[in-house]
Amino acid sequence: MDLSLELNLPLAAAAPFEDYIARYQQLVYRTAWRMLGAIGDAEDACQEVFLKLHSRLGDFEKAPNPSAWLYRVTVNHCLDVLRKRRPQAEGGNFEVLAAGDNPEQEAALEQQKQRLARLLLRLPVGERSALVLRDLEGLSTREVAAILEVSEETVRTAIHRAKEKLRQWMS
């Protein structure tokens, strides 16, 4: 699909944007999915983040670390969505796809993961963001601190508290 013709964008702008969608959609989707819990919400968040990227393509390209820029935009968007959403007493309804192989083992693991994912949604948004970015997205504490615009110590504390709560809830 020739995006430049469809959108009447300059070739120089359309080609990288198409590349960016292909390259970063998993990063954005995964973060939004873990932060928001629902697949539909993750799709909506992805769309909003990429539309924001399209309107601020210059900022994105000038950013020293484009992934960090995208993480920041995604996390901020998710925080906005979570602020508007009513607090979920039971941790919401996290949607995961059922695994196909090794039915019994996979089912047990899926059940555990589904439970953990539900419990993730019960965490305060600050602790959840820190945990998702560092432990699920694999970013360093420094990167997470830069994305969330807090100190590294705050990130460590948030993750420690989040894990303590999760252990307590899971036991």
Binding site: L7, Q25, C46, L51, A117
Partner: protein, 123 residues
């Protein structure tokens, strides 16, 4: 590393649902396309409105022929101005105005607004 860390590591390696992920690109493109179409439609409508407002009307304005092109002046405009007499005037005083009068050779009675007061002026 406890059970929680293992589960988190497992979740980290989990691929996002492919079917849902595949919807992202087309949704973004569709929204951008709609925005571009809307922007073009609005620009076209604005341009059309500007042209329609600025374009001179093609219909001829029916003007009267030269002999008929005169405005009849009303009669009163040409007639001499009629100045109403004081009796007709709305400025007419409600009572006769007192006038100064000569009492004798060297005394003048001045006009007074109060009928009970008489003022004399000695010449």
């Amino acid at each position: 590393m406890d059970e929680l860390d293992l589960l988190l590591r497992d979740m980290a390696n989990e691929a996002p649902p492919a079917e849902s992920l595949a919807k992202v690109g087309p949704r973004v493109r569709g929204t951008l396309r709609r925005r571009v179409v809307t922007r073009y439609c609005l620009a076209a409508a604005a341009m059309l409105a500007t042209v329609l407002l600025a374009w001179p009307s093609a219909e001829p304005v029916p003007l009267p022929k030269v002999p008929d092109f005169s405005i009849p002046a009303p009669d009163f405009a040409l007639s001499p101005r009629i100045i109403p007499s004081p009796s007709q005037s709305r400025m007419r005083p409600s009572r006769p105005r007192r006038m100064p009068r000569l009492v004798n050779g060297d005394k003048l009675e001045l006009a007074s607004t109060d009928p009970n007061v008489v003022i004399y002026w000695s010449l």
